[in-house]
């Protein structure tokens, strides 16, 4: 039976995760990418993988970060080395489902779409799919311990440079 205490706990948890996700997507959409690694634990793992590979149990990801250094390298490369037509994302995240909240690591799933707008103003629905997260509390702050982005949209238009 769900008690008031359980409900309070779940509501609090949902609000905290929702705030984490909102901060995260605004950080990316507003091009504050240097802050992006801060949303993960120091040993955080991040994967953007197609649904095709995921369903086939194949490990290769489009982007794979394991530990803070690799998150920082993604951003420093994007700022200093990689060349691409400027563009911005607009993330839409919805249908947060808590899969497991019994321990300190909370597992969730949600849906997302990203529209991409190029410097000339063309907009397209760039990516869509599901996100599986493992969220944990570090010094009172919610952080992603693991974030797996599974792309239904298997074909990448032109290139993928800004993280999801």
């Amino acid at each position: 039976m769900t008690t008031t205490t359980d409900l309070d706990r779940e509501l609090t948890l949902r609000l905290r995760i929702d705030a984490l996700v909102a901060d995260y997507i605004h950080c990316i959409d507003e091009d504050r990418l240097e802050e992006w690694p801060d949303y993960f634990t120091a040993d955080g793992r991040y994967k953007v993988i197609t649904r095709e590979n995921y369903d086939l149990n194949m490990p290769v990801a489009l982007i794979y970060c394991d530990g803070r250094g690799m998150f920082e390298d993604r951003i420093s490369a994007l700022r200093t080395a990689n060349i691409y037509e400027p563009h911005v994302y607009c993330h839409m995240v919805s249908a947060l489902k808590i899969l497991d909240s019994s321990g300190p690591d909370i597992r969730t799933q949600s849906n997302f779409t990203i529209t991409r707008t190029m410097s000339e103003g063309d907009m397209m629905t760039f990516l869509c799919g599901k996100i599986f997260d493992t969220v944990t509390e570090v010094d009172g702050e919610m952080k992603f311990k693991e974030r797996t982005v599974i792309l239904d949209s298997r074909r990448i238009d032109t290139l993928l440079v800004i993280p999801v």
Binding site: V48, I49, T50, E52, N53, L56, M58, P59, V60, A61, L62, I63, Y64, D66, G67, R68, G69, M70, E72, D73, S76, A77, T80, A81, N82, I83, Y84, E85, R154, R155, I156, D157, T158, L159, L160, V161
Partner: protein
């Protein structure tokens, strides 16, 4: 081939005496695109279809393309691999519409005509009619209405296909020197680690040229210089097949007598700037030599890649004049241990649609495609390394291999 296409010829005239100037029209012209389908993709060329290890069991199939033509590759009951055009002999519907699977036979969903795993027509629904009415007449011969077969060759586990009986055997097609590189890299049974698909906003040939263009690597892909993937201390060169249609570009480490050569830490040219995490740049010398990068093309649209420990085969599929799709099949060796599996995941950050040293290839073709419209009768120029189409032992600052591609294109297209 029972359905060889008739060549209606072309009015297009190559505007110069050699292949060091390329008219923009070749990237924008629908008639040339249509002709490429008929006489190049369905002409005397070998096209990558899939890997042997992707269809290990009888009945396993995979959908793919040669140019615009949809193709099925399937393993039959005897273990042999067959390839057929994915088009029912009756109304022309796709026979397979799921990208991969396992079947006992192929059945068209439209009118349930069935074919065996060699493409032979085995059944026609209501072929005898209903209550003596309708159905096929005696003049209909099942043997004359199979799926169109594609000639294949299994090259070290890479299944290659060609529409033409004129195409020389694969080893002769690319020549001994380039066969040697396939043997050098793909030394053991392979496994597929995953796929990427990337849509380029440009004509297919711009991406093929880009692969043959070793001149751009350290200039466009700034990551190379900034983080030192390809460094001045490395030697390398360009090899070309006798036909000049196919090429190999490679770089290798110098003998530096460093015990730590396999795990050389990468620093940028700016001494204060380096990668925070260098694991993806670690290179286990698994092939018995010190070659760090090799990019090999097989005319028209196949690329075999070794970048450190990132192995892949890339297949380019034209999608109309202005668009193309690149399918990356990411490879490892079947006997890789857990550490090697992890290293390959790390190093694959370098390549693919989000790859540190490959993502720019996605946008640069589109930049040319857009600019081409300024005047399609103007020409691009390929002056680096002169006008000849020669291999290069030292410098990779040459467009020889790109000129070799255009030699092949002109020979296939008859222009």
């Amino acid at each position: 081939m029972d359905t060889a296409q008739i060549d209606p010829g072309t009015d297009f005239v190559w505007p110069s005496e050699d292949v060091s100037q390329i008219p923009f029209r070749v990237y924008t012209d629908q008639d040339l695109y249509d002709r490429e389908q008929r006489v190049l993709f369905q002409g005397p060329t070998w096209n990558f279809l899939c890997l042997d290890c992707e269809i290990p069991e009888p009945g396993d199939y995979k959908m793919t393309y040669i140019g615009d033509a949809p193709i099925i590759v399937v393993r039959d009951e005897n273990g042999n691999i067959n390839a057929m055009v994915n088009r029912c002999a009756h109304k022309g519907s796709l026979i397979c519409y799921k990208p991969r699977g396992n079947v006992k036979e192929f059945a068209c969903i439209y009118h349930n005509w069935t074919y065996n795993l060699r493409g032979k027509l085995t059944g026609v629904a209501f072929g005898k009619g209903v209550r003596g009415q309708g159905g096929l007449t005696e003049e209909f011969k099942h043997d004359e209405h199979g799926l169109e077969r594609i000639r294949i060759e299994n090259v070290r586990g890479f299944i290659m296909g060609t529409f033409s009986d004129e195409t020389p055997p694969f080893a002769e097609y690319i020549g001994q020197e380039l066969m040697d590189n396939i043997d050098r890299v793909f030394i053991k049974p392979l496994k597929v680690l995953g796929y990427h698909s990337q849509i380029f906003p440009n004509n297919w040939k711009l991406y093929v040229e880009n692969n043959k263009d070793s001149y751009h690597a350290s200039l466009l892909h700034v990551f190379h210089n900034t983080f030192g993937v390809v460094r001045p201390t490395m030697t390398g060169g360009i090899k070309l097949s006798d036909s000049r249609w196919h090429h190999l570009s490679y770089t290798q480490r110098e003998e530096i007598g460093d015990d730590n050569i396999a795990k050389e830490k990468i620093r940028s040219k700016q001494d204060d700037y380096s990668l925070s995490d260098t694991r993806m740049m670690e290179h286990v010398l698994e092939l018995g030599d010190k070659i760090t990068n090799s990019i090999q093309t097989v005319f028209p649209t196949m690329v075999l890649q070794q970048i450190l420990n990132a192995l892949a085969v890339r297949q380019l599929i034209p999608k109309g004049v202005n668009e193309s799709e690149l399918i990356w099949t990411i490879l490892g060796f079947d006997d890789d241990d857990a550490d090697m599996d992890e290293l390959r995941l790390q190093v694959n950050n370098l390549v693919g649609p989000a790859g540190f040293i490959s993502m720019e290839d996605g946008c640069v073709g589109g930049f040319i495609q857009t600019a081409a419209k300024a005047n399609v009768d103007a020409q691009t120029i390929l002056p680096m390394g002169g006008r000849k189409i020669e291999p290069s032992d030292g410098s990779r600052v040459t467009e020889s291999a790109v000129r070799g591609f255009w030699k092949g294109w002109r020979e296939c297209m008859g222009v």
